[in-house]
C-alpha cells in the first residue's frame, strides 16, 4: 500500500502532519512533504491523517509494490 495525495485538492493545512508526523510534514515554506511508502505499524496514524484532511485529499492505494 502507498499514500496518495491529490496535489490539486491539497491546501497544505497540515493536519495530516499532526496525525501522522512520521509520514507527513510541512516544509519551511509550508508545503506538504510526505513519503508514499510507510511502515505498517503507523497505519492507525495514517488512517487518522486520511480522515482528518479537510479537503479529503489523501487516499491509500493498494496497487503499490
Amino acid at each position: 500500500m502507498k499514500i496518495v495525495v491529490d496535489q490539486v485538492k491539497c491546501q497544505n493545512h497540515g493536519l495530516c502532519a499532526i496525525s501522522a508526523p512520521a509520514n507527513f510534514a510541512l516544509d519551511t515554506d509550508g508545503k506538504l512533504q510526505y513519503h508514499e511508502s510507510f511502515n505498517e505499524e503507523n497505519i492507525d496514524d495514517i488512517e487518522d491523517a486520511v480522515d482528518s484532511c479537510p479537503l479529503q485529499a489523501i487516499t491509500l492505494s493498494r496497487d503499490a509494490a
Binding site: Q11, N12, H13, G14, L15, A17, I18, S19, L26, T28, D29, G30, D48, D51, S52, P54, L55, Q56
Partner: protein
C-alpha cells in the same frame, strides 16, 4: 526607492463596520491589504490563501480579550487554554487526540437524525407561511444536534443554547460590556462539563463525549480532566453558535437568489454540498480570521513585524474577482476554489465535517419544503466580527407542494 503603496484604513472596531460594504470592496481594488486598528487586513484571495497557512503566522486570537481590556477573568482564563488559541506541542497533542471523533466517517451515520430534527422543527411553523428563523429553526437545530453528539438530554437545549450564545458574545466587539455575564456563563458551563465528563466516565454511551473520555483513559498521551472540561466548553460554545449563525446567513443569501434555491430544492442530493460551500463563501459567520506573527517576515513589499496581528478577511477574499467569476453570486453549478470560512492551517475548524453535514441537511430540508423564501421586516444582525449572525430573522414563504 520603491514608491509606498496606497493602503486604505478600515475602522473594524465599531458596530457599524460591514465587511460586505463598498468601502471594503474598494479597498480590495486598491491594494492587497488595508490598515486597521488591530493590524493589517488581508483582502485578496491569493494573499489570504498564502498567509493563512504561513509558517510564521500563529493563531492570533489569544490576544482578543486583552485587546478589549478583558484580562484574567473566567472567560479569559478559559480562552487562553482552548484548543482554538493553543500553539505548538500542546495544541498538536490535543488536536491529534480529538480529530478522529469529528471525522466525516463518524458524522455520516447521523444524517438521518439531522433530517428528522429539521423536519420536526419545520412542521411547527410551515402552515403559518412565516416564522422567525433564528429562534424557530437555527437555534434549536444547532443546539439539539450538539446535544445529540455529546449525549446531553435534548430537553436541556434552551439552557445550553443560552449559555453558548452568552459565551459567543466573547468573540464580539462588545465583549467588554458583556464580560460579567460571559464570565458567569463560563463558570456555569464548567460545572456542567465536569458533571458530563464524570457521568460518561461512570457509564459510557455511544456519543462523541464518551469517545473523548475513552481517549483520555486509553491513550498514553491522554487528555487531562482540565483539558476535557475545556474542550467540552469549547464544543458547546463553538458548535452551537457558529452553526446557528451560519444557518441564518445561508438563508439570507439564498433568499436573494431564488433560482439557486429552486435548483437545490429540485435535487438536494446533488446540490446540498455545493449549497453549503457557496453560502459559506459569500456570507461566512467569521468575517475575519486572526493571525499573529511569531517572527518578523516579509510578504511582498510589506514587513510584518513580530507580534503584530494580521486579519484575513474571509468574505472579501472569497469574493475576490481575481479568483472567482461572478464572485458575489451563489452558483451551484460552478467549481470554485476553496474558501476559508473554516479558517486554515493546523487550526482549521475541528467541527467542519459536522457543520458541513448539518447545514447541508438543514438547507435541503428547508428548500424541499418551502418556496418563495423572503426575509421579512425587522431582521436584526450582530455586528461584523469573528462570529456574526442573526439575532432575529423573520422569513416568509410558501409551502411547496
Amino acid at each position: 526607492m520603491a514608491r509606498q503603496p496606497t493602503t486604505s484604513y478600515l475602522d473594524i472596531t465599531g458596530e457599524h463596520f460591514r465587511m460586505n460594504s463598498e468601502e471594503v470592496r474598494k479597498a480590495r481594488t486598491t491594494h492587497w491589504y488595508a490598515r486597521t486598528e488591530w493590524g493589517i487586513a488581508v483582502l485578496t484571495y491569493e494573499d489570504s490563501s498564502f498567509l493563512l497557512k504561513h509558517p510564521q503566522l500563529t493563531q492570533g486570537s489569544a490576544k482578543w480579550p486583552a485587546q478589549h481590556g478583558v484580562v484574567g477573568g473566567r472567560f479569559d482564563t478559559w480562552w487562553q487554554k482552548t484548543l482554538l488559541v493553543l500553539e505548538g506541542d500542546e495544541h498538536n497533542r490535543i488536536r491529534r487526540l480529538v480529530n478522529p471523533a469529528f471525522s466525516a466517517r463518524q458524522i455520516e451515520p447521523m444524517h438521518d437524525r439531522f433530517r428528522s430534527l429539521a423536519d420536526e422543527l419545520i412542521d411547527d411553523w410551515i402552515d403559518h407561511g412565516q416564522t422567525e428563523f433564528a429562534s424557530g429553526f437555527a437555534a434549536p437545530y444547532a443546539t439539539r444536534i450538539l446535544c445529540m453528539m455529546l449525549g446531553i438530554a435534548e430537553h436541556d437545549w434552551k439552557k445550553i443554547h443560552e449559555l453558548a450564545a452568552t459565551i459567543g458574545l466573547g468573540l464580539g466587539v462588545t465583549i467588554k460590556q458583556n464580560i460579567a455575564s460571559i464570565d458567569d456563563a463560563v463558570v456555569e458551563l464548567t460545572r456542567y462539563a465536569r458533571s458530563l465528563v464524570q457521568s460518561r466516565r461512570e457509564s459510557p454511551r455511544n456519543d462523541v463525549l464518551s469517545t473523548l473520555v475513552a481517549t483520555r483513559d486509553a491513550d498514553a498521551g491522554k487528555l487531562s480532566d482540565e483539558e476535557l472540561v475545556n474542550l467540552v466548553i469549547l464544543l458547546i460554545f463553538a458548535g452551537i453558535d457558529t452553526t446557528r449563525n451560519q444557518l441564518a446567513l445561508s438563508i439570507e443569501s439564498f433568499s436573494k437568489q431564488p433560482d439557486q434555491w429552486e435548483k437545490l430544492a429540485a435535487d438536494p442530493d446533488r446540490y446540498a454540498t455545493k449549497a453549503v460551500e457557496e453560502a459559506l463563501r459569500v456570507n461566512p459567520i467569521g468575517r475575519w480570521i486572526s493571525r499573529e506573527a511569531a517572527e518578523t517576515f516579509q510578504h511582498r513589499e510589506r514587513t510584518i513585524e513580530k507580534g503584530s496581528t494580521v486579519h484575513l478577511f474571509t468574505l472579501i477574499s472569497a469574493t475576490d474577482p481575481a479568483e472567482f467569476g461572478n464572485p458575489d453570486r451563489i452558483d451551484l453549478e460552478v467549481e470554485r476554489s476553496p474558501h476559508f470560512a473554516f479558517g486554515g492551517g493546523i487550526h482549521h475548524c475541528l467541527g467542519h465535517f459536522v457543520a458541513r453535514a448539518d447545514i447541508g441537511v438543514a438547507l435541503s430540508a428547508m428548500a424541499t419544503r418551502i418556496t418563495d423564501l423572503r426575509i421579512g421586516e425587522g431582521a436584526e444582525w450582530l455586528p461584523d466580527s469573528g462570529n456574526t449572525g442573526a439575532v432575529t430573522l423573520p422569513i416568509t414563504f410558501a409551502q411547496r407542494h
